[in-house]
């Protein structure tokens, strides 16, 4: 199989970066090429995943959803979340957050002891905050950019930084060391079942689901690195060109309002005139 078309980053060999796990290089590369330099391959994977989901995974999850009471779904979800607490704990420490680390250690203890081995989130009920950290976030915290967007077969949206971090995440999860294929299947189907409505709605809501999914994923990860803070949105996004304002008047027929736009300076679209184009 041919290797993915790696973006050429002047002065750097990204393959070496991948091997060394020096994800710091990723940020520098990705900004030059946009977040999705491997789009062609990604779109193929995306289409494959969509087919797989619609023909197999989603129907299975729907069936599961009808037979499995919501309460049990929540409990199963909580159990698998409990298994990720050690991973969070390690990453709290790596990110220099001793308070969060203590909270998560407490959370683990409370949920295992008082929460039926981790099936019930007693910790949240007694007010212990829930943190979620993984190695991808830690690398992000240390300054690594997300790197190129990457659609993984079966698993879906990801980015190179987080894919490289996945082995470490697995190493910090106790369930990795238990040979339990059945449990993994339950975890995957249970998770899919909890997002039935959301994903269905997102597919209906989007004109281009691939782009929607990519933006949603990249934004979610960027926020997770910032511990839930929304990354700054460039004010540029909300700027209207002056020339637009003239065109607007003709379209303004909304039954609700007549938004009086800020009057454009009395220089109506000077640059527009084609004769002056020199």
């Amino acid at each position: 199989m041919r290797a993915l078309a790696l973006p050429r980053c002047p002065g750097h060999r990204i393959r070496a970066a991948a091997l060394a796990g020096a994800a710091l290089l990723l940020g520098a590369c990705s900004t030059e090429r946009g977040p999705d330099p491997w789009r062609n391959t990604n779109e193929k994977m995306f289409r494959f995943n969509e087919r797989f989901d619609k023909s197999f995974f989603e129907p299975v999850a729907k069936g599961y959803d009808t037979v499995m009471p919501t309460l049990f779904q929540t409990m199963i979800g909580t159990f698998f979340e409990t298994l990720t607490v050690p991973r969070t704990f390690v990453n709290d420490l790596l990110q220099g957050k001793p308070v969060a680390a203590a909270q998560d250690l407490g959370r683990l203890g409370v949920n295992v002891v008082a929460g039926m081995l981790g099936f019930v989130d007693v910790a949240s009920e007694v007010g212990i905050p829930k943190n979620e950290e993984d190695f991808g976030q830690t690398f992000g915290r240390w300054g690594a950019g997300p790197g190129p967007y990457l659609v993984v077969p079966f698993a879906g949206p990801n980015n190179l930084r987080d894919v490289l971090a996945t082995p470490l995440d697995l190493a910090a999860n106790p369930s990795t060391f238990v040979n339990a294929t059945g449990a993994t299947v339950v975890r995957l189907v249970n998770t899919r079942a909890q997002y039935l409505e959301e994903i269905d709605q997102a597919r209906k809501d989007s004109i281009d689901f691939y782009v929607f999914q990519r933006d949603a994923f990249l934004t979610r990860r960027a926020r997770e690195v910032l511990d839930g803070k929304t990354p700054e949105i460039d004010d540029d996004l909300y700027e209207l060109d002056d020339e637009d304002l003239d065109a607007l008047d003709e379209v303004e027929e909304s039954p609700t309002e007549q938004p009086a736009e800020q009057p454009a300076e009395p220089t109506p679209a000077e640059g527009e005139s084609p004769d002056e184009a020199h």
């Binding site: 929607f212 949105i233 004010d235 996004l237 379209v251 039954p255 938004p259």
Partner: protein, 216 residues
């Protein structure tokens, strides 16, 4: 000691007036209360009588009053706006309005049992205000919904909704730019119309029996 009370009341009153004065001129506060009133009305509708269909229609009406879909359309299309003929621009605004209000209506209608808390309002550099809200309770507990608002014609209007950090304007701009680059304005209009005709609001009933679900 009793005698000092009128004085105390008077000074408190003065203080309140001092505080209220600037507050009235504060855009962030104005935008926040405008958005709050819309949110309150939406929640009242959701909790009131009326079929799901009626409620959704009412919410759509409320959304159309508070959202400036024309500005949103222009922000979403940005440079591509000029590639649209005036008639196409008009058509786009109409279709996009329908599309957004239907999808907003459907989404909000699912938050029947949730509360919405307004967390605060922030002045943006260009005179806009971002009103920050969060959903309380239910599956999406803690999810943040920010409304970017602009004062247009003396009224605070929503020009973007940022759900969990995902800006609707930015997200749609990315989606649309691709479609326009490949197929031009007509292709985009075709696709949005198709969505509107198919009825994005047509969410499947949640309690449908397994058999019906499976065969869809």
């Amino acid at each position: 000691m009793k005698r000092t009370e009128p004085l105390l009341v008077a000074s408190l009153l003065a203080l309140a007036l001092l505080l209220a004065g600037p507050a009235l001129a504060d855009p962030a506060a104005d935008a926040r209360s405008a958005m709050q009133s819309t949110i309150d009305e939406v929640l009242k509708t959701l909790r009131g009588p009326g079929s799901d269909e009626q409620q959704r229609a009412e919410i759509e009406t409320l959304a159309k009053q508070r959202f400036d879909f024309t500005t949103m359309s222009k922000l979403v299309l940005k440079r591509d706006w000029k590639r649209f003929q005036p008639a196409e621009q008009k058509e786009f605004v109409t279709e996009f309005t329908e599309y957004l209000s239907a999808s907003y209506g459907t989404r909000i209608a699912r938050y029947k049992n949730e509360q919405v808390t307004t967390l605060g309002a922030r002045n943006e550099g260009n005179g806009d205000v971002t009103v920050q809200t969060a959903i309380k309770g239910g599956q999406f507990d803690g999810a943040t919904v920010d409304y970017r608002m602009r004062s247009l014609g003396g009224k605070w209007q929503v020009i973007d909704v940022v759900i969990e950090g995902i800006s609707l304007v930015s997200n749609f701009r990315q989606q649309f730019a691709d479609v326009i680059a490949k197929g031009g304005p007509q292709e985009l209009l075709k696709r949005i119309k198709a969505k509107n005709e198919a009825g994005i609001v047509d969410a499947p009933p949640t309690e449908a029996p397994a058999a019906t679900k499976g065969t869809r």
